[in-house]
Symmetry: C3
Subunit: 159 residues, 3 copies
Amino acid sequence: MTEKKRTTIVLFSGDYDKAMAAYIIANGAAAYDHEVTIFHTFWGLNALRKDEHVPVKKTFMEKMFGKMMPRGADKMGLSRMNMGGIGQKMIKDIMKKHNAMPLPQLIEMAKEQDIKLVGCQMTVDLLGLKHEELLDGVEFAGVAAYLADAEEGNVNLFI
Amino acid sequence: MTEKKRTTIVLFSGDYDKAMAAYIIANGAAAYDHEVTIFHTFWGLNALRKDEHVPVKKTFMEKMFGKMMPRGADKMGLSRMNMGGIGQKMIKDIMKKHNAMPLPQLIEMAKEQDIKLVGCQMTVDLLGLKHEELLDGVEFAGVAAYLADAEEGNVNLFI
Amino acid sequence: MTEKKRTTIVLFSGDYDKAMAAYIIANGAAAYDHEVTIFHTFWGLNALRKDEHVPVKKTFMEKMFGKMMPRGADKMGLSRMNMGGIGQKMIKDIMKKHNAMPLPQLIEMAKEQDIKLVGCQMTVDLLGLKHEELLDGVEFAGVAAYLADAEEGNVNLFI
């Protein structure tokens, strides 16, 4: 009996294009029968935010951070040539023409393929996010859980 | 008989300094007898563009993207302290003084060491690049080929 | 007898939040008994700068670079929402409230846990830094030393 291969990705970045790369690699690995975990930390957590307003109790600072960060995958900007959102719109148009999946659908597909989506609890707290604001099915854990996955891994990436 | 070690790098970034880091690690690994692949995706593809104009048929959008992106490794900017190109010029002057290889030469060396240079076909399409515009010898592939290399790898990096 | 696991991180970034992520993973891995190396290159070297002025002989260009780069971990900015330092101050306040360790303490802890802190000699030269300006206990090496650590590694990251 052979063990399953394993891909573990830290998604630190809050950029649309980097998150796309992370989810394309993750979905590919799952299709090739890897056990896959995406560990979202810092700005990468924005990919997991629900796109509607969720009423939760927050401090003033937490509210401010919440407003300044994109609410959900679809609102994230490009790492370059974003030009106030024009670049992102252009890329999305081109993606549609080429039948490439937009980020929200890539995340949906990841859930269907049983990719483990984890939010880093420490940075969830730092950015003032509440569990209810993040997609259903997301787990919360810390660096110990990440290392347990990563140290047995074949493909480890920090994106 | 022992198997060869393997280094597989995803070059996502279009920054001169990050691409330098990628190619220095890749050339080092090849010198230590690793099988090395650099998988260029998104802005990392700019490192593979020929620096002269190549006449190809493009849509309006593809032409615009082509104009906005640096044509070849030598025209890429720094990830910080670029200051409209001054920082990049400064770094290049200092590199010359220290006999450090500039990026186009590092890429040349990579080809001589049989490092496999791959362009991600999906993002080649998204950015509207044509095969003739990229360096000779570049192969084109997708996430499946990347994973096949990476899952057997010793050193896997996303840069 | 089982071999020790190994975590090897290239810290390329000069951003406070990315360096935090690197040092949190490194300290976690050391706590789980990995042998850990952080290889600082390019802007990541700023995390190792002493925060006081160290009198060394420099060329004009080296002095300029030294002035433009943050002197030490505490002065590094955020990768996003830095807003001229306001974002960084906000994050630090929130971290204090949540008892999260600031970066200079994370580096101190790394030294106590015998994490090997390495400065890339080639980029030390490029940025005009002198050994006396960097924290005591830092070693200096090149890509060959990095690869020797990384190729035996379980967790390899480029941050």
